[in-house]
């Protein structure tokens, strides 16, 4: 009896051992095993990578080498594509990946799945595309990133950033040079950006995503959205040209109190303009204003207690009516000035201080807020 029990226990212990013994036969490599490749490269090498799906992380480093690393692929190849003269460090590289479980190599066909990490020289340019996955790039000179649904984040790019996504949220910070950010349904966030030269511009566009800019020091800023709201905070560049074009989104500009700008707004008849800055607005009526008619009452903000300042009524029929509105501290808190474009107006031109920067706002039905930081 005892021998039978001992045999049964022995067999029971033996069964899992057999199963475990068969596992290594299924795959050649244990999951999590990293593949790594390195190649000598020029400091301004151009590296491209394209994935069907998977996230990509790119770091700039001080070595003149390109390193590619992944734990989700069978093979990595750093293919030189810099022409027939391939002596010396590589100037153009394509990262090719071979998927696990499939005998195919991503020969320029973006078929690979898997997360990839790249280390490239700080002066390098990187072109990254992925169908579905996040892209993070740090401390690289030029970045071209494109993802359909993954988020894109770029930090400390020194020459240019071009990022595009469909439903991706795009964030760029602490970078210099030309910046172009486009997302359809995702948001765009930019902070701590500046231009390398006067030709560098900042452009951002979405359809329904929000656009937030903080301390963007480019002198050419062009923002466009259909349904998203636009927020800009930070100082304006001297002689900067800012254009905000929305169809239904609101534009909010949070500026330092010493900001100097000229405002040129083209808004719908009923659009509201709210300004914390004393402005000297100039409105151009598109149709004749009947002097006998009383002006519509201005819209009061919740924070005003005794009502906003009413613009002076035009004294004569004219295509251009200049209305000067002085800030009235007895009426409005914090020297804020609130006014609404009179019914027949479509364009509002106003100056604050010496008018160094030019702010152009074009919105079909959005409102404009000028706030003090």
């Amino acid at each position: 009896m005892k021998s039978k029990i001992t045999l049964t226990i022995f067999l029971l212990l033996l069964q899992p051992a057999g199963v475990i013994a068969r596992v290594p036969d299924r795959k050649d490599k244990m999951p999590g095993q990293q593949i790594e490749r390195t190649v000598a490269a020029d400091s301004a090498v151009t590296v491209s990578l394209c994935l069907m799906s998977g996230s990509v992380t790119v770091h700039g480093w001080d070595r003149n080498e390109v390193l590619a690393r992944s734990s989700h692929v069978n093979q990595i190849e750093l293919k030189r594509v810099d022409g027939p003269n391939q002596s010396g460090p590589a100037r153009k590289l394509t990262v090719l990946l071979e998927d696990k479980g499939e005998d195919r190599r991503g020969e320029d066909d973006c078929q690979a799945f898997g997360d990839v990490e790249l280390m490239i020289p700080r002066g390098a340019s990187v072109y990254v595309q992925t169908g579905d996955g996040a892209i993070n790039v740090f401390e690289v000179a030029a970045v071209y990133a494109r993802s359909q649904s993954g988020d894109i984040e770029v930090e400390k790019a020194s020459r240019s950033v071009e990022a595009a996504g469909f439903s991706s949220d795009i964030a760029v910070k602490d970078s210099t040079g030309r910046v172009s950010l486009k997302s359809v349904g995702g948001s765009v966030t930019a902070s701590g950006l500046s231009a390398n030269d006067a030709a560098d511009s900042f452009e951002a566009s979405t359809i329904s995503g929000e656009i937030k800019l903080d301390a963007v020091a480019h002198s050419l800023v062009n923002v466009r959205t259909v349904n998203g709201n636009v927020h800009l905070a930070g100082p304006l560049a001297r002689a900067g040209q800012y254009t905000f074009n929305t169809t239904r989104g609101d534009v909010t500009l949070s500026l330092p109190s010493d900001a100097s700008f000229q405002l040129n707004a083209r808004l719908s008849k009923e659009a509201e303009i709210t300004s914390d800055f004393p402005l000297t607005p100039k409105t151009e009526a598109t149709t004749a204003i009947a002097p006998a008619k009383p002006l519509p009452p201005p819209v009061a903000l919740p924070k005003t207690e005794t009502g906003p300042t009413r613009p002076a009524a035009p004294t004569h029929q004219s295509a251009s009516v200049v209305i000067t509105v002085e800030p009235d501290v007895t009426i409005v808190k914090d020297s804020a000035l609130v006014f609404k474009a009179i019914y027949t107006s479509r364009r509002v031109t106003a100056i604050h201080s010496t008018g160094d920067a030019m702010i152009n706002v074009v919105s079909f039905s959005g409102s404009l807020r000028l706030q003090k930081n």
Binding site: S205, I207, V226, N227, T247, T286
Partner: protein, 300 residues
């Protein structure tokens, strides 16, 4: 000699109604009894007389056959019978109607008020119908678009007034044009004159007369090109991408429709046109992005 046979039995004998022993005994009795023989002869004479008198009746069909003939005749003549009946009903209705019409002209104060009210309603209905007819845009070839006076088109020269056929998105074009047609009666009357001069029907001809702002045609053509590119393999689009695309396309289309309406209702306002073109550009940007994404998916 046996007793004489009764007259009823003799009549039965003549009618052939006796059989068996009765017939033999009556026959034997008649052979030996002169009285009964005379009676039988007299009964026979009477029978002949009656038969001669009723011969036309007897020669005719039996009552059952006549009845059947009568029924057949009735069935065959049913249609005729019905016609005759409806004619009778019509006659009765006509009589009733004539009586009712006659009573209509029998004026009472209540009835006079009723007639006056009915007359007023009819007058308003006629006026409304005439006004509606004047303001209805002309339709040609199933395209519900208002036709524009060529002189109006000439006042706004530019790419929008060239003679090539336009690709017109249905929603943005249709609504404002209809609104204009209602607003300006004189224009619609001129339009009607133009419509009569137009050859019946081609949609290209009609499209040339859809009111487009200068430059709008270029956007529409670009959008149509991009849209057809996207639709080529729309079924292969990733579901998430498809949903995002349709969501944002709805945003753009709503914005475009609103901007276009504003531009149409303010033809002299350059800002309104600028808003519209901006909305067009947003749509072009969106379609470009989607087309690029499609190319990317197709290649990979």
């Amino acid at each position: 000699m046996s007793e004489c046979v009764g007259e009823e039995i003799l009549q039965s004998y003549l009618d052939g109604e006796l059989a068996g022993g009765n017939l033999q005994s009556v026959s034997a009795h008649l052979a030996s009894c002169l009285t009964c023989s005379v009676v039988v002869r007299e009964l026979e004479q009477e029978n002949k007389l009656v038969a001669a008198a009723l011969s036309p009746e007897f020669e005719a069909s039996v009552p059952g056959k006549r009845l059947r003939h009568r029924i057949d005749a009735a069935i065959a003549g049913a249609g005729q019978f019905r016609q005759v009946s409806s004619g009778a009903v019509e006659t009765s209705v006509a009589v009733g109607l004539r009586g009712w019409l006659g009573s209509l002209f029998d004026f009472t104060p209540q009835r006079a008020f009723g007639y006056a009210g009915l007359l007023a309603v009819l007058t308003f209905a006629v006026i409304f119908a005439v006004v509606q007819r004047r303001n209805t845009p002309i339709t040609l070839g199933g395209n519900d678009v208002a036709l524009v006076d060529k002189g109006t088109e000439r006042r706004a020269p530019g790419p929008g007034s060239d003679s090539t056929a336009a690709v017109v998105p249905p929603a943005p074009v249709k609504a404002p044009v209809q609104k204009m047609a209602r607003g300006t009666g004189s224009t619609s009357s001129r339009s009607r004159n133009v419509a009569t001069r137009l050859p019946s029907g081609t949609s290209a001809t009609v499209a040339n007369h859809v009111r487009l702002l200068p430059g709008e045609r270029t956007y529409l053509q670009t959008i149509a090109d991009l849209d057809s590119t996207i639709k080529l393999d729309k079924g292969q689009m990733k579901p998430a991408l498809q949903a995002e695309y349709e969501r944002n396309l709805a945003f753009v289309d709503r914005a475009l429709a609103a901007a276009r309406t504003a531009a149409k209702s303010n033809p002299n306002d350059p800002d309104a046109a600028q808003f519209m073109f901006s909305a067009y550009q947003s749509k072009v940007d969106l379609l470009n992005t989607v087309a690029d994404a499609r190319v990317y998916d197709r290649q990979h």
